[in-house]
């Protein structure tokens, strides 16, 4: 269920950006063309449609919050309700009971999200900047190298072999950071962004003034490309925050399990229990780890809320980044 909810909420994110984009285009039109161009009726219809869409996106999450505040008794008797008969904060009490693991996982998630995003942004921008400069001789080769991985990937097992046996990352925090750090698609986006937004003449003047390549990158390119960088930073933040699969593969150590992975584990254990009732009945340890319905929803809430809250801060860059960064050559 959390997986579904996550995808739903990520749909919610992308939908609302679409909406924002539409709104932005509307505003533009109003500014430069006939202000009365959009007929009020059309305007109303579009607004209502988009409004419904927005509600549809937010509703599931809203529902999850309500269920997390419903008493378990009420869920068992009446199922999920929009306005439950009994409210309760038992679910959050329950989570407080497992605070040790929860805080630990929160810490891991925050750490990999911050460090991962920083590493990821630097790796991607360095690569993308290099292949965006015509002075770089092998840029075609390296562009192709990145592009190639978008078409063909090694697959799960070879990736696993590389990470665990060649790099020896199993059960280290780096196993959660490095496999996600590089992303060919973002490289292509950033390359296009650098090509479009930074004109060669600025760089030339910087060079004439005696700036080194490093200085050019950090003092000129970086500030100029902030919208694009913020976009991929947000993408990687979301990617790291929501990632549970790498932890499933590479982490056995309970101390290193990130939040989303913890959620997935609980859900997967529940599924296992359903399919193997005979084993489950004999396993008190399994029963003990299974939270009640409302507690599961409460976990979804605390796992999703921070990222949802941080979204508005990125939004400004995100929109301009998307509109500019779209591949157009």
């Amino acid at each position: 269920m959390p997986k579904e909810l996550q995808t739903q909420s990520s749909i919610a994110v992308s939908h609302s950006t679409n909406e924002m984009k539409g709104g932005g285009a509307k505003a533009l039109r109003k500014k430069y063309r006939d202000p009365q161009h959009l007929h009020p009726v059309v305007n109303t219809i579009i607004s209502v449609l988009l409004g419904i869409l927005a509600v549809m996106c937010i509703f599931p999450f809203f529902y999850v919050i309500i269920i997390s505040f419903t008493s378990e008794e009420s869920i068992v008797r009446n199922g999920f309700q929009l306005v439950p008969k009994d409210w309760s904060i038992d679910a959050y009490h329950y989570l407080w009971g497992m605070k040790e693991q929860l805080f630990r996982s929160y810490g891991v998630t925050i750490f990999i999200t911050i460090v991962g995003t920083i590493i990821s942004v630097f790796m991607i921008t360095f690569y993308a900047y290099a292949i965006s400069r015509p002075q770089f001789k092998y840029r075609r080769f390296f562009t192709f190298l990145a592009f190639f991985t978008m078409l063909f990937s090694g697959g799960l097992v070879p990736t696993y072999i590389v990470v665990t046996q060649f790099l020896g990352l199993k059960n280290t925090i780096w196993a959660l950071i490095l496999p996600l750090a590089m992303n060919a698609f973002y490289i292509i986006i950033m390359r296009t962004f650098f090509l479009k937004s930074v004109s060669e003449s600025i760089l030339e003047s910087a060079r004439i003034d005696g700036a080194s390549e490093w200085r050019i990158f950090f003092q000129i390119i970086f500030p100029l490309s902030l919208p694009g960088i913020a976009t991929i930073a947000l993408f990687s933040t979301l990617g790291y925050w929501n990632d549970w699969f790498t932890a499933l593969l590479y982490i056995d150590e309970p101390n290193l399990v990130p939040l989303q992975s913890l959620l997935m584990k609980i859900e997967a254990n529940l599924e296992f229990m359903r399919q193997n009732m005979d084993v489950a009945i004999m396993q008190s340890s399994l029963f003990n780890t299974i939270p009640q319905e409302s507690a599961k929803m409460a976990m979804v809430v605390i796992a999703t809320l921070p990222i949802a809250v941080s979204y508005p801060f990125f939004q400004k860059y995100f929109i301009s980044g998307l509109t500019i960064g779209g591949v157009k050559e």
Partner: protein, 484 residues
């Protein structure tokens, strides 16, 4: 162009150096371990939620093992729900480790693939005591192409499906459950419960049970009869029994004895919620007291069939030695000890005496809170049950009863036969899909079998069920002739 080639060459060379460096290091360490007097570290993966005190307990374990067999063990638990996917990736990637927990079809497939080591020779040398301790039926049942690929857990080798009742309600209405044998016998009781107990769902969602020996599982239409013709594979959904059973189930469903969403429901009906009257389950000796303990209210069961030794009941828990093990002999020595040495077995299972459990004067034990909170291992997945200490509320003859139960069971027709599905892979794929569609609805009585059962069988025909049946029969006959 030339430069690009040179660059590529350089890249390949670099990668090559890195790779060889890695493998070089590997072989160096493996030489050091084990052979020159230093204790060999056995890597052991097993199922279950990782526990906080594992390191503490295994320090003790290693102290003991170093003395006994000059080895140490690193046990890693993989959580229940992650197990299937994670263990499969580990096996497929050829990761070096020594022992891994496995069961059922996973065991069969990985053995056929060559991921596990055939341990017949090891069992005769390093595992001699172990072989003697095991129920022969277990070893017979897990043979694949005549070879043994893992150490089965010595516990109940047979399976017996039972109807389990909520005892409070049975007593309240004075039901005579001893007469229950078939699904139809439940009818009068369900009716009373439905009328008088509004907060109770008469039947916890279960799928009606057809007593056959299944080649894959009860969803797939390939089965051998347990009584009567045990030599020929049939589609059990074409039997009269299926029609009858599903009709009864459908009547129950219409009468509202099951939840309406039975076919799609994922409700697991946890025992500790008292909202059901009857359910089905797999029994073992003293299962009622076990379940009562889990549920915290009284349960009582009646058998729905005679105990039978099936392939999946013997392969429920197996420790296999990986083909990537660098020292299989040591791994076997450890498994041998684990299954025959009561001190080691209890240490691994229950933890440290005085910390995780207490021993009473009569030798029975009692869990301390630390065992529940910090070292709660799944007993069934570890090894021989018959050398485990008994709990103070366990009956004294528990393990004797287990042995009796195993001896009383009769072998299923396909015990030891493992079908190789390669020749009919595509047919099986579509049959699986069809079964997923029809089976839950039929077995929970959600649809009328008069209409849907023929439809189901027709679809199976179209999907090529006959070809699969023929292939199974062929392999079965071959296997049978080898047995004699």
């Amino acid at each position: 162009m030339k430069k690009r080639l040179i660059l590529l060459l350089a890249l390949v060379l670099t990668i090559g150096t890195i790779l060889s460096a890695c493998s070089g290091k590997d072989s160096a360490t493996s030489n050091k371990e084990g052979k020159d007097g230093q204790p060999y570290e056995i890597k052991w993966y097993t199922i279950g939620t990782p526990q906080k005190d594992t390191d503490k307990v295994f320090k003790e374990v290693n102290k003991y093992l170093e003395e006994k067999i000059n080895a140490t063990v690193k046990m890693t638990q993989i959580d229940w729900g992650d197990w299937a996917q994670k263990s499969q990736v580990m096996i497929n990637s050829g990761e070096p480790f020594d022992i891994i927990f496995t069961n059922g079809t996973e065991y069969v497939q990985n053995s056929q693939k060559g991921a596990f080591l055939a341990i017949d020779d090891l069992l005769n040398k390093e595992g001699k005591d172990l072989k003697e301790a095991l129920d022969p039926a277990l070893l017979e049942g897990i043979k694949i192409d005549g070879k043994i690929y893992g150490v089965p857990t010595n516990k109940e080798a047979a399976r017996q499906t039972v109807y389990t009742f909520n005892k409070r309600l049975v007593d309240k209405y004075n039901f005579d459950i001893s007469k229950v044998q078939r699904l139809e016998d439940l009818e009068p009781m369900l009716k009373v419960i439905k009328e008088n107990e509004p907060s109770i769902t008469p039947m916890a969602t279960f799928k009606a049970y057809l007593p056959f020996d299944y080649v894959f599982n009860n969803e797939m239409p390939f089965a051998f009869a347990i009584d009567g013709d045990r030599e020929h594979v049939i589609n059990q959904f074409e039997s009269d029994l299926a029609m009858e059973t599903y009709k009864t189930m459908h009547n129950y469903y219409k009468a509202g004895y099951l939840k309406e969403d039975a076919a799609t429901s994922k409700d697991s009906w946890p025992m500790d919620v008292e909202n059901w009257f009857v359910r089905m389950g797999d029994s073992q000796p003293y299962a009622d007291s076990l379940w009562t303990r889990a549920a915290k209210y009284d349960l009582v069961s009646v058998p729905a069939e005679e105990p039978t030794t099936f392939n999946d009941s013997v392969s429920g828990s197996i420790q296999a030695i990986s083909a990537t093990s660098k020292n299989p002999e040591k791994a076997m020595e450890f498994l041998n000890l684990l299954n025959t040495d009561p001190y080691l077995r209890n240490l691994v299972d229950k933890g440290i005496e005085g910390v995780h459990y207490e021993k009473n004067e009569d030798g029975s034990i009692k869990d301390l809170p630390a065992r529940i909170d910090r070292y709660n291992l799944p007993t069934y997945s570890l090894g021989n049950h018959f050398i485990l200490n008994l709990y103070e509320n366990d009956p004294k003859d528990k393990w004797e009863k287990f042995k009796e139960f195993n001896e009383s069971a009769k072998p299923a027709p396909t015990l030891g036969f493992h079908f190789n599905s390669d020749p009919v892979r595509s047919e099986l794929a579509s049959i699986t899909n069809i079964s997923k569609e029809f089976y839950p609805a039929l077995a929970t009585g959600s649809v009328d079998p008069e209409e849907y059962l023929p439809k189901y069988n027709e679809k199976l025909k179209e999907a090529g069920i006959d070809k699969v049946l023929k292939e199974i029969q062929k392999q079965f006959d071959e296997w049978k002739s080898e047995q004699k």
